[in-house]
Symmetry: C2
Subunit: 424 residues, 2 copies
């Protein structure tokens, strides 16, 4: 059989994507949007759907101690470096229909296409379904994949889930995994990792391009439980000069950091600055009260650690300036968490580009703003790459939208990359 005899089974790919996405998204704690917390029974149920689908394709199923699932389609050389393709099935609270699940379903569609066309790949192709990627639940970056890679720190096992207050170790145990076994996971030998994922940004949609190859992932510097303290007072009774209004101080910090962001972009740096939560709505807050407190989180991202440091230093300088100008105001940033920027694999980028060319596409190279499991695999020495799918209506929200045909096109490229590799 020569390469030219293999065609991309486009209809099968489209059907697999539509059918399995619907099956996974039927599992949610309720709307709006989709909610499957990390290490929850809902995440486990979604894993079970994929396991069933992969078994039906004849894959060998394996789980590591942390509950990451591996469904293997054997290759011609079982000893060669395997190609893992996958993503995660947990979501943020009230998240979208594609973040994570599109990557898993895309991987499944690649395997379905290989099976349907009778293609035995050069190496094992391993559908890889990680756990606990969304760090809104546990304040740990890529908890599931890093657990499986033997790279969680002892402290991270004690991280508490934001909704339950119980630890990562406890939730692992709830889902049937032994945290002590996870603690002693032997890091697996580095292999290859490919992740389909929606872009979570407007670049591809604005450019009218269905998919792209991602060769770097931004790192992050975060304050998840920051606070500003002021002085509670009566809204009608406290004169302007006597106030220490936590919300006004917060507004000043937000606009100051927005200006810092503009300045660093103008200097040619890569950066995002986001105050994703601002909570001045506790039972203690009221229309007739000058706010004495607000909680907030701040997320800084860049492809350059030095820029993150510079933004963090600017943050602390702005806080000092605001505190000095506003007696009674005191900021408490709380614990800082970080994820390192990751450069992905040029070899893997070329692998995807080869398959894309075979179907007449020339996807651009771009940067990922969001952190992804591919970064965790990359940090562990794997040859990693991502394939971004055009999306719109935001991300991490119920409105998050993607055209399944775009994912199918990207699946076709990876399918043809595997075919080409076999042909070499």
């Amino acid at each position: 059989m020569t390469e030219t005899l293999v065609t991309v089974p486009r209809e099968l790919i489209a059907d697999t994507i539509a059918r399995v996405l619907a099956r996974v998204n039927a599992i949610t704690s309720g709307g709006p949007g989709w909610t499957r917390p990390s290490y929850s029974p809902l995440e486990s149920a979604a894993h079970a759907v994929i396991e069933e689908e992969a078994r039906a394709l004849g894959c060998e199923i394996r789980r590591d101690a942390a509950g990451n699932m591996f469904a293997t389609l054997p290759g011609q050389d079982r000893g060669a470096t395997a190609l893992h393709i996958g993503s995660h099935l947990d979501t943020v609270s009230q998240g979208g229909a594609y973040d994570g699940q599109a990557g898993v379903v895309g991987a499944l569609a690649v395997i379905a296409a290989l099976r349907a066309e009778g293609v035995t790949p050069a190496t094992d192709v391993v559908l890889t379904v990680t756990r606990a990627e969304e760090s809104v639940w546990f304040p740990v970056s890529y908890a599931g994949s890093r657990a499986g890679l033997g790279r969680l720190t002892p402290q991270e096992f004690d991280a508490k889930r934001s909704d339950t207050g119980r630890t990562l170790a406890e939730h692992m145990r709830d889902e049937g995994f032994d945290p002590d076994a996870v603690r002693s996971i032997e890091p697996p030998a580095p292999a290859r990792f490919l992740e389909f994922h929606i872009e979570q940004g407007p670049v591809l949609d604005d450019a009218g391009e269905p998919y792209a190859i991602v060769d770097a992932v931004r790192g992050g510097l975060r304050y998840r439980e920051a606070q500003v303290h002021g002085v509670w007072a009566h809204s009608g009774g406290a004169p302007r000069g006597a106030r220490a209004d936590a919300v006004v101080a917060m507004a000043e910090l937000i606009l100051a950091m927005d200006a810092v962001w503009a300045r660093l972009l103008d200097a040619g740096h890569d950066l995002t600055v986001t105050f994703g939560k601002l909570d001045a709505a506790s039972p203690q807050h009221a229309m007739a009260k000058v706010p004495g407190h607000a909680g907030f989180c701040l997320d800084l991202r860049s492809d350059d650690v030095a820029v993150l440091e510079e933004a963090d230093a600017a943050l602390k300088a702005e806080i000092a300036r605001i505190e000095a100008a506003r007696p009674g105001i005191r900021f408490e940033l709380g614990a800082q968490s970080r994820s390192a920027p990751a450069r992905l694999s040029e070899t893997m980028a070329e692998f995807v580009a080869t398959g894309a060319r075979a179907q007449g596409d020339s996807p651009r190279r771009m940067l990922s703003g969001g952190g992804h499991d591919a970064a965790a695999f990359g940090a562990a020495g794997w040859d990693s790459v991502m394939v971004f799918i055009r999306n719109w209506n935001g991300s991490h929200c119920p409105e998050e939208a993607m055209d399944e045909a775009d994912l199918a096109r990207a699946v076709g490229a990876v399918f043809l990359g595997i075919v080409a590799e076999r042909g070499r």
Copy 2:
């Protein structure tokens, strides 16, 4: 009996204040602070405590259809215009130990002092305990006193309590009062109303003065359920120029209105501007999401309706400016509510000043920033006045502090005012 033979029973006044405040504040739904919602069983229980205390002093007890309580110490001339003294017993959520209750307990102490000294006042003295003064529960100004004065609008009976979502009429019925009877209350003949209340501001504390006479109450213009809509996006994926961040837009509005406030103060106007609640912490909000929504309330207060109008116009201009500069951002102010500024009674101010002089005090005249039942009685044609008690540590919060000795001093002044009136 001549006037000079009457002495102020200072110990009895102090004891009454301490004992009855403690009894009332034992009634709360739990800490921090004190919570007795408007038209709740907790407010009714606090009313029952005062009824028991007033009965023990031999007062005649009466309630109007809306549940406001009147405990009368008969005067020499039962037909003369009565002197009502009182305040409310509901609190904001997690409020303080003095707002409202200090006024009720002060009124009770006046009557206890009159009884103890065997003073029969010139007119009836009526301890007046209103309902539902704190408009954080029902978006209605002075709901209880205005109900009793026959001044609630039909729509206001349908206002929903912020915690239960049930209407004012339903909550009245729950506490044993018939809303239909309230709808047909005949406005009582205007009498005189005096209200002790903590200042809820720093003026007296800064000046080292225990109490003051309030001759005007600021009015308010409020948006209780305002919102700003933006576009949800991924914090790492959405470039700066492509964002419609609801929290950044909100920060811009807060600082813009702070500047408007400074400008109007510089122009010599009276105004307060407070964003008391800012809610960008729903389940949909997350560290890794650009906020697509925030809720807020805005409270504008002034002694001058024209200044409220000017601030409201500036608010709308700032919103238009921000919306024009930030595509995707849209503000929705929602329903506006108002309370009118009230000028209080010069005759009643002089009544208090006379009693104060009799004990060697010369309290200042001042403005009230907060709205109070006295404003509702004033608007209904009563001769109303307030006596502000120095306080600190804010107001409408658990830390709200007052020296009971300051209230006792003010009670002494009113006691001596009554004695002087009898002597005329």
